[in-house]
Symmetry: C2
Subunit: 101 residues, 2 copies
Amino acid sequence: MEKENICPLNYTMNLIGTKWKPLILFHLLEGELRSGVLQSKILAISNKMFTQTVRELEKDGLILRKVYPVVPPKVEYKLSTKGKSLEPILRSLDDWGLNNM
Amino acid sequence: MEKENICPLNYTMNLIGTKWKPLILFHLLEGELRSGVLQSKILAISNKMFTQTVRELEKDGLILRKVYPVVPPKVEYKLSTKGKSLEPILRSLDDWGLNNM
DNA sequence: CAGTATCCACATTGATACTG
DNA sequence: CAGTATCAATGTGGATACTG
């Protein structure tokens, strides 16, 4: 998607307006989650898309990635402050869907 | 985009989560607009994408299309009741962008 | 003016197999 | 367990020309 961001609305949509991003953010509203647990909550997401999506969310400063230097690997994700500030929007999107689907 | 709609959040995103839809809906918040006027407000949208997008919004019941049987043609678009109910979400997305971009 | 029809470039997504 | 690599399929967006 081209990044023109003429208006604020598009800026926001470019950060969360994809198939999986809102869903991942939504699940993280309940708190920090281990990578595998988070992924298992998003039924039907492929391994590749999961990694790719959390990477972008991290790059955009919406989530934080914590790596534990253990074997086997352990990684946890949680919302950043910026990510948490999306909560009202995520809840609105979910509520609206509930009332209209 | 695949239509799985496992959760309400995805239902909503499938309706408004594309490049141009939120922008078109946002401009229609100010009221009914003639086709050409609406399109001119969305800088850089191609003719094809404009028609395609308003068609989908109409199909999904978010906007209403009024055709005047005159020459030259005159078409006006406005939000439906369902479309109007998206206003809080659209404003939130815009506000969040303003505060974070 | 409003919209349609092609044709094409490229971005997004996914299945599968593999690594430290 | 968490993540990477590769290849293929599909979706999305756009330039151009044309119609009633």
